[in-house]
Subunit: 222 residues, 2 copies
DNA sequence: CAGTGTAGGTACTGATCGGTAACATTTTGT
DNA sequence: ACAAAATGTTACCGATCAGTACCTACACTG
């Protein structure tokens, strides 16, 4: 169904290597429908090719999955690069840009949360090779946050990174299970408060001014 | 493997109705291994019965799944009852007991996070009947938090409930994707700080003291 | 032109899935 | 004791799964 646009976007017509088409199709399907529910046939068909070509480029579905996860990690890295480009040298602004974009993602009804976290939920076997990829990438994301917090001169950067990270993960998973009603605004408010509590002084023992206190309109959309 | 105890706990020997045995087995397997990966045959076998009996009690796997989710909701309710019993009338203590127990769950290596959230991740189709169950139960949990916060006389109880809820969800999902290393302590620290910021005054514009002021036994169990 | 490697296509394996039919057996209520 | 209900057993259905064998078509390189 609706293969029309897919045919145009990533079918063989385009001069893109089958491998990349397969990866793009796998990313789309894995993220949208889940890992276990998507079969290799469906991926090959969505990529405008067939199963044999898939198995010529990837040793197994698990390896394709690992590649997909690595790709998602790279995609996240590119986002960080964009923040760096938008606010060169201003680590704090980059951090806040990240927060704003994450809140934006929440509002998107097509968003299915974090691909890595979802994959971890679908792969309970901790010995699964993809789990190592997930762990590495997730720790990398947290380290990015910590590095940014450190560059911004915030106190206890690792602690702040953990706080922001937990907050974001909670928001993303909550958006999936109960919906994203006004969650973006709440995420920003809480995240800004966390950042503010680390601007100076140490730890939580500091007065926190979250959002501009203007009462009344705390539910504004992005 | 290790069917010995299972045989004793939920096989037909025990005078438990097949329906309850099936539900218990489904809960165990769904939670431990995931929803899509566990087949009805495996559930029936783990319950010491067979597929036909399963289908005589549940119209479909989806309905069994919905019942399983409702059961998890009930189980959570019983926890709340325990907090109420442990700290009768003291809503704040109940809230903190909840936080401590959640932190405890994180440390358990067998913990697989929130069954409802995991199910939501495995069921991307928002029209799936189980999604309504998940949403209702999740909102119920949040409302419990808000009610407790209100009873404890904390400011902006709904806001605090959201904060604690996001924090907990983030911690649980993070424990699954990257591990629970020292996460329980961090959860308690952040949660206590959130609660403290609502003890008086309104919103974030209040001085926050993270760790409970009364030094000594802030780690007390339920 | 010949040779080589990549891609597409078809058909297959063996296993498992959710769900059902038909029948035998056990438990239960009275 | 007897009938009715609940449970157990086996076999089956159509669909789908991950993965493979085998062959053909094309494009590039010499």
């Amino acid at each position: 169904m609706k293969t029309a646009e897919n045919e145009l976007s990533l079918a063989k017509n385009a001069r893109i290597s089958p491998r990349q088409r397969l990866l793009a199709a796998a990313a789309e399907l894995f993220y949208r429908h889940g890992i276990r529910v998507v079969g290799v046939d469906a991926i090959a068909e969505a990529a405008g090719t067939n199963k044999m070509t898939l198995y010529r480029h990837f040793a197994s579905k698990d390896e394709l999955l690992a590649e997909y996860l690595r790709e998602m990690g790279k995609r996240g890295d590119q986002c960080w690069g964009a923040y760096e480009a938008a606010h060169p040298g201003d680590a704090l602004a980059q951090l806040r840009a990240w927060l704003a974009e994450m809140a934006d993602h929440l509002a998107n009804p097509d968003d299915r949360g974090c691909a890595l976290a979802n994959a971890a939920v679908e792969l309970p076997d901790k010995a699964h090779p993809a789990r190592r990829v997930i762990e590495k990438l997730k720790l990398g994301q947290r380290d990015r946050l910590a590095e940014l917090a450190r560059k911004a001169g915030l106190s206890e950067p690792e602690m702040l990174a953990d706080e922001l990270y937990l907050l974001l993960e909670g928001a993303r998973v909550t958006a999936q299970s109960v919906g994203a009603e006004g969650l973006g605004a709440r995420l920003i408010r809480m995240g800004e408060a966390m950042i503010a509590s680390h601007v100076s002084g140490k730890g939580w023992r500091v007065s926190v001014r979250a959002t501009p206190v203007r009462a009344g309109n705390d539910e504004q959309k992005s």
